[in-house]
């Protein structure tokens, strides 16, 4: 995926931001098993959400969800590992397999962290606890997941999984950035990963958070979210190293900011104060004013609480600029991939910057008038995008905001 707009031999402009470059990208989503497939379907206005396949999630079959094409297996952990490896393989395609003397790191964002419903175990357990095979109780082996990835990709630097709920994928990118800036690693696989699982479907259903039909983010008709598979991988490295080596830069990671609402175990702070704090911190680390942002990938789960708090936060940070700022809600097309969402949607921002196109938001209803005028494209729109923001807000009030810039910005 070569950048199409970068002038040849352009020297980097002096800048005072994080100085991190994205030089590889891989995606596996319900829209496609690669970044080009996902992007093409997204621009075409497609959605990967559909009624659950018969028998797949037992009595949660009423829930719409987005499943990625992948190995047919009841072992959701094995499936997740395979799909994440696919995303990593795609991201590394431009880097080759030789690692040389560089220290590679692995930063994984996930909320489930390889937990799974373990239906076969519970079937045995309910029949006779004394004879249940505990090897089928699939849990708490996030370390094995990291281990398998570290072996596959010869990781010798830090390899850590961060689980900040639905902000995890973005937090993993922030963690990778810190490793690069502090010299703990030279190149990092920053990944997001979470498969759809009966446990999370049932859990969010118990919370009343699942939508009854298609997602309608930012609209007065919004009634909840839909879960989906999500697997992303970004290769991050110091920008100066990428330029010195002549590696194509897909986009630049200019800023990262995080915060905690410190408010409630599941509900966001309705004032949006925590989310606004994360966005401001991201802008500060990017050394950018709010009106320098041309495009924002919202978290926009389409729940009543999240969207209201998010818009409130956006108003706080962007003020009048919000009336002109192009916004995108990916989840009607891609679903909510929980811990992976922050990584998946950051990858979409990279693609938007690379191709200078704003993807459409798939929805039937317009914006809630209570939110004021918001710019939300309903079709793919060519645009000049120099700086983009990607937001992810999670359970427990974990907030993460990333600022990504065009490679020559």
């Amino acid at each position: 995926m070569a950048p199409t707009h970068l002038p040849p031999d352009s020297p980097p402009a002096p800048r005072r931001d994080l100085g991190v470059a994205i030089t590889g990208l891989g995606l596996v989503t319900c829209l496609g098993t690669s970044a080009p497939l996902t992007w093409a379907a997204l621009l075409a206005g497609e959605t990967g959400l559909a009624p659950s396949p018969a028998g797949r999630f037992a009595d949660v079959a009423f829930a719409r969800c987005g499943l990625a094409s992948g190995p047919a297996t009841e072992d959701n952990r094995a499936r997740a590992r395979a799909l994440l490896a696919t995303a990593c393989d795609e991201a590394l395609a431009a880097h080759g397999t030789a690692r040389g003397a560089e220290r590679w790191g692995l930063s994984l964002g996930t909320s489930l962290a390889a937990q799974a419903s373990s239906a076969p175990f519970w079937t045995q357990y309910l029949a006779d606890p004394a004879t249940a095979d505990y090897a089928l109780l699939a849990s708490y082996d996030a370390e094995l997941w990291l281990d398998a990835l570290a072996e596959r990709f010869d990781v010798r630097g830090p390899a850590c999984a961060v689980s900040s709920a639905c902000a995890a994928g973005a937090s993993a990118i922030a963690q990778a950035t810190q490793w690069l800036i502090t010299g703990a690693a030279d190149r990092v696989l920053a990944c997001g990963a979470d498969p759809v699982d009966r446990y999370t479907l049932a859990g969010f259903h118990a919370l009343g958070a699942l939508a009854k039909g298609p997602l309608e983010p930012l609209s007065a008709a919004r009634d909840g979210m839909a879960l989906s598979d999500g697997f992303s991988c970004l290769v991050l490295e110091r920008e100066r190293d990428a330029r010195a080596a002549g590696r194509p830069i897909l986009a630049r990671l200019a800023g990262a900011g995080e915060s905690s609402d410190a408010f409630h175990r599941t509900q966001p702070d309705p004032t949006g104060a925590g989310a606004a704090l994360a966005m401001r911190r991201a802008l500060a680390s990017a050394n950018l004013a709010p009106d320098a942002i041309d495009f924002v990938s919202l978290h926009a789960t389409a729940t009543v609480a999240n969207d209201a708090a998010e818009v409130a936060a956006m108003r706080t940070v962007f003020g009048d600029h919000l009336d002109r700022l192009a916004l995108h809600a990916a989840k009607p097309a891609l679903g909510h991939s929980l811990g992976a969402a922050g990584g998946v949607e950051a990858a979409l921002c990279v693609l938007a910057l690379l191709h200078q196109v704003r993807p459409p938001t798939v929805r039937s209803h317009g914006t809630d008038p209570a939110f004021g005028p918001l710019v939300v494209d309903d079709h793919a729109t060519p645009a000049t995008i120099r700086h983009a923001m990607s937001n992810a807000f999670g359970f427990g009030g974990c907030n993460a905001s990333l600022v990504l810039s065009r490679s020559d910005a």
């Binding site: 037992a58 009595d59 692995l106 996930t110 909320s111 962290a113 419903s117 373990s118 519970w122 079937t123 309910l126 249940a132 505990y134 090897a135 109780l137 699939a138 849990s139 708490y140 082996d141 996030a142 370390e143 094995l144 990291l146 281990d147 398998a148 990835l149 570290a150 072996e151 596959r152 990781v155 630097g157 830090p158 850590c160 999984a161 961060v162 689980s163 810190q178 490793w179 502090t182 703990a184 009966r198 446990y199 859990g203 969010f204 259903h205 118990a206 919370l207 995080e258 915060s259 905690s260 609402d261 410190a262 175990r265 599941t266 925590g274 911190r281 680390s285 359970f395 427990g396 009030g397």
Partner: protein, 378 residues
């Protein structure tokens, strides 16, 4: 905070198999190892061969505000009690709390709540699912709860994986502080034992087979902040955080190389000579991880030549989980703060002298390693 400024540890909170509180931890090390404890799983749960070092029953409400302990998981309770001790006397203004992050490592998370919710789901279907259990079962519930209790609005991370996560979280906090992303940090590790998870890991031959040593539960949290500010404000400097190091090897077989590298990185980060280290705290014990740590120490100058005293903590607190990894750092920090070495083994007197520079090491059989170097204020 000025990026790159020296860091201090100004608070420690500990809940361990030898007692609740930092002082209880030191007192506990002065005794023989706690009686070997076998897990008492619910009827029908297979009992793995290794022992478990449980946190003894204690009145959590005498250690933390009772309102902060209601309707939360066992893991959140451990973390909340540790945080209460750690932050006692920390009279930070709102602006400081807004810029303080929470970084918690855990291997098992709120596994008890997770399995309870799964059992509800299995028995009664979706309609039986508990929203509260589900919300408490997510890995970041404890860290988010602590942030809410103390109004800490910086980054909130939960590092999940194996035992090393108890120190990985501290390392993550150090990096955030050095970058200026947070102004102060509450960091450490916590784990609450869950017999069915243990049975699962044993059945998969991941952990818990015979000869696996003792698995320990517990929690330790540390308050990290700029050294200069701590001194200006008269905060107690229990130790200085001098250096950090992490390494991983995915190739098999796993040898001591990641641990050797992690120690070297921590020393280089601190610009410290290995011979300046006079105390090393590891897990130790007759486990594959303990053997890796011992092998790594055998290659480390200062330790290999007998200059540094080594305290393997597994005999008192168990090992294998994030909480026990963090407890190693608690032992090291406390030793520096009070000017006394911990004993090298149960029933053995502590050596004379005063430690000044302590290295804490965690190595895992999956190829992860983390090292933290701490020193006295002077």
């Amino acid at each position: 905070m000025t990026p790159g400024a020296p860091l201090a540890i100004t608070g420690v909170g500990a809940v361990s198999p030898v007692g609740v509180g930092r002082s209880a931890l030191e007192a506990g090390l002065g005794h023989e190892a706690p009686p070997e404890a076998r897990p008492r799983p619910p009827s029908g749960v297979p009992q793995p061969g290794c022992v478990v070092a449980f946190v003894p029953e204690f009145d959590a409400e005498s250690h933390a505000d009772p309102r902060t302990l209601r309707k939360v998981s066992a893991l959140s309770r451990l973390a909340t009690v540790a945080a209460a001790e750690c932050l006692a006397g920390w009279d930070a203004p709102p602006a400081r709390r807004t810029a303080t992050g929470v970084f918690l490592g855990t291997a098992l998370g709120s596994s008890g709540d997770h399995l309870a919710a799964l059992e509800l789901l299995a028995r009664g279907g979706t309609s039986a699912m508990s929203a509260l259990l589900f919300a408490e079962s997510v890995f970041n519930a404890a860290a988010s709860h602590v942030a809410k209790v103390h109004a800490l609005r910086g980054a909130n991370w939960t590092t999940v994986g194996g035992e090393a996560t108890g120190l990985d979280a501290v390392v993550a906090a150090v990096r955030q502080l050095r970058q200026g992303a947070v102004d102060a940090a509450l960091a450490g590790g916590a784990d609450h034992y869950e017999p069915r998870v243990h049975a699962s890991l044993a059945a998969q031959h991941i952990a818990g087979a015979d000869g696996c040593g003792a698995i320990g539960e517990g929690a330790a949290l540390f308050l990290l902040e700029p050294l200069d500010r701590a001194r200006r404000e008269g905060r107690p400097v229990l130790a200085r955080l001098l250096g950090i190091g992490q390494a991983r090897r995915g190739r098999r077989p796993v040898g001591p190389e990641p641990a050797v590298e992690a120690m070297a990185l921590a020393l280089a980060d601190a610009d410290s000579d290995a011979l300046a280290v006079d105390l090393v705290v590891t897990g130790g014990g007759a486990t594959p991880a303990g053997a890796l740590e011992d092998a790594a120490l055998g290659q480390a100058a200062g330790v290999a030549n007998g200059h540094a005293r080594v305290t393997p903590l597994e005999r008192w607190t168990g090992a294998g989980l994030a909480g026990t990894a963090a407890l190693r750092l608690a032992v090291a920090v406390h030793a520096l703060a009070v000017g006394r070495y911990p004993p090298p083994s149960p029933g053995t007197p502590a050596p004379p002298g005063r430690p000044r520079r302590a290295l804490v090491l965690v190595a895992t059989a999956t190829g992860a390693a983390c090292a933290v170097l701490v020193g006295t204020e002077d």
